[in-house]
Symmetry: C2
Subunit: 427 residues, 2 copies
């Protein structure tokens, strides 16, 4: 079996004005969809965070990928590493691994797994060791946000919307707004764990929101707070003391492994990260400093599904728990996340997903349905999804029209608050 073609399609999906430490989500989130086609007419799908640069990298990967057997993941990866000079590529300034090889391979590997599953008549989870759970739990991912639906209605709302689609449009800028958002989201999707993306308002306001969630949902509800690493160590310790016994985990209150370790030692609250331990190169430092209790995996950032299984083994080996990180995404990434989670025994925390914030979809049949806060992983071959080519074309047109070329939350924020600047440590 050979890969004979590779289609790379950047898309833009409507995204509401969600706030975080880096600023504000643009009216559209960018993703890049890849489709690999084989000589026996099987196609496989992959999805990664989008940007002009990522699309260009994927285009540049085509000459390596076409002609390969989709089972030869090691050879494809080696070819891509050579293509991108991965040995010399820097991982970049951000907390995440920005090397092209990581994103490119993660998209291509998922598409290869989709093909392998279809070729062998097996769901992807069965190619990762088989399912250990029928249902994969996800968490409610709350955001502070401005009023607005995103897209063309960036800061305005669709009055026709009902249910969660209406609630999703509302502002959430204080504890009451956060609780209302949580109630609407949990009612719609049945989520049982709740995460608040923080790092937006002064710490005492965010602590108040967490305590309000505790009051609204009851003391046993697993709550997570993620200040996006912009707090000082002393701030994080002080805030953490107010949330002790309330948080399921405390996610990246501070920047860097050393700081995380200080907070962790002071508080004795489970601490999670997708910012200080974000690649295999960070693992020795994590072990040395004891920077966190739980690693939020993300197959887009760790280099694919097999790499994520290997990360899971490392977590077991070093006594780390395992949860899963998310960005704005559509159903291809969601399916890949669900198959991975279904096959990972020690992924015991409900996974993050931005999915409720999106309304568009590129997979046939429309939006994936959650039941009781969980997805039931399909037994269909591969990822168990098909591409809606009309929607893909529509969302590609939307990409071309929206004019965005990369995610830049700071610039979006400056449109609302002129002169606003990202601060690595704010409070």
């Amino acid at each position: 079996m050979k890969i004979t073609d590779m289609h790379v399609t950047p898309i833009a999906i409507t995204d509401p004005p969600l706030l975080n430490a880096s600023g504000l989500h643009a009216p559209y989130a960018l993703r890049t969809i890849i489709e690999l086609v084989t000589d026996d007419n099987i196609y496989g799908l992959g999805e990664v965070p989008g940007s002009v640069a990522t699309t260009a990298s994927l285009e540049a990967a085509r000459e390596v990928v076409v002609g390969q057997d989709p089972f030869q993941l090691n050879a494809i990866q080696a070819g891509l590493m050579e293509r991108f000079g991965a040995g010399n590529e820097a991982r970049g300034e951000s907390p995440w691994d920005r090397r092209r090889i990581v994103h490119v391979f993660s998209a291509i590997e998922v598409a290869c797994f989709d093909i392998m599953g279809k070729a062998t008549n097996r769901p992807v989870c069965d190619l990762l060791g088989g399912r250990v759970r029928e249902q994969v739990d996800f968490s409610a991912y709350l955001f502070y946000k401005y009023e607005g639906a995103g897209g063309k209605l960036a800061f305005s709302t669709d009055p026709q919307a009902t249910g969660w689609a209406a609630a999703r449009q509302k502002a959430a800028l204080d504890p009451a707004g956060v609780v209302a958002q949580a109630q609407a989201m949990c009612k719609e999707f049945g989520f049982k764990s709740i995460k608040l993306k923080g790092g937006v308002f002064p710490p005492d306001e965010e602590v108040a929101a967490i305590l309000a969630l505790r009051d609204a949902f009851g003391p046993g509800t697993p709550l997570r707070h993620d200040p996006n690493a912009i707090w000082k160590v002393e701030t994080a310790i002080d805030a953490g003391r107010h949330m002790k016994g309330v948080l399921e985990y405390y996610e990246d209150p501070v920047r860097g492994q050393e700081n995380m370790a200080k907070v962790r030692e002071a508080l004795n609250i489970p601490m999670a990260t997708n910012m200080c331990t974000t690649s295999f190169e960070d693992i020795p430092g994590s072990v040395r400093t004891n920077s966190e209790d739980i690693i939020l995996s993300d197959h887009h950032f760790w280099g694919g599904l097999r790499a994520s299984v290997e990360l899971a083994r490392i977590c077991r080996t070093f006594g780390r728990g395992l949860s899963m990180h998310s960005n704005s995404h559509v159903g291809i990434s969601l399916a890949a996340m669900a198959h991975l989670a279904a096959a990972t025994p020690n992924l015991t925390y409900a996974c993050d997903t931005h999915y409720p914030w999106q309304s568009e979809e590129v997979i046939a049949g429309g939006r994936t349905q959650f039941a009781d806060g969980a997805l039931t992983v399909t037994n269909e071959p591969g990822l168990g999804i098909e591409l809606d080519r009309a929607m893909l074309a529509t969302l590609h047109e939307q990409y071309k029209l929206c004019g965005l070329t990369e995610r830049n939350d700071e610039i979006e924020m400056q449109k609302v608050q002129p002169g606003w600047k990202f601060q690595a440590t704010r409070w």
Copy 2:
């Protein structure tokens, strides 16, 4: 697809009187062969070190395994962990992980991979990420030994034997004998790396043997010395100084991670282990102490092929090299080792194998052939081997007749040297 039957067959294979730190190999080595059969009449093969206890464990595993889908490795493993109370099982006194779950699952997982490969028309290496090398290099595994062919000719020889079969019968009790053995083995198999199993004679005699090998094969030849952890730290440091620049790696000269770290720090020679870091539970200690440079993986002792791939990732993550350990075995284990090695990018050292010391085989077509010190991994589905049922029956009869129930090199040695005792630290 369901597993409908599981056949467990202990066998005994002729093994010459090889010496090591634990004593002497018995005239027969024990292996247990398993065969899983599915409802669509695919069978898969596995092989593990044999003993009455392991056979009993495998028999006890049948009720868990039969009825399972061979792709559901996680579920099979979870079932076996429950069956064997793996959470409470101790790993035992030996340097290796003796938990039943480890051996049982490794045998069953390999058989499942053989089935998965046959069911999907793919070689096992393709289900582990695909091959990164066409040829898998193996090393010449030298032993001090008494004269004798093993089996019924325990301490005597077959005068009809020729070539390596004749050379294999000869005693090797000094540097000249070791060099002659190496020359005959390398001539027959084409091996380019050479390992001496030591821990048998006083250190200066073994150092002399290594230096004699260097003189005979030339200074560039990769040589390994394995004193089986029975040297004192000072002894190992002193002997190591005489072998510096000669050894490719120095394998387990001393016992335990702390001692290994001391020798490593003193010598600055690459150090390898299959005795101080032998399970995932040992990895944190390895990282803390820097006990070795190279880990010798062994899918029978680390819990299967996927676990070995995960170990490979850990080795990359922590800057450890990767080689492969062996025990006396037949062609099922050899095929599994070769598929694993073919799919492991950072397995850059030639693998150990006892295979040249064996003469019998349970796979159809007889003994696997090496060319230029390497195996070419087949593209046939699964492990690419078929069972020779007549030979299996013959070797099972041999098992019943030989009277051995477990490996005990100390008792065998006492038959030659009455009163001989294993010493954990001898010199």
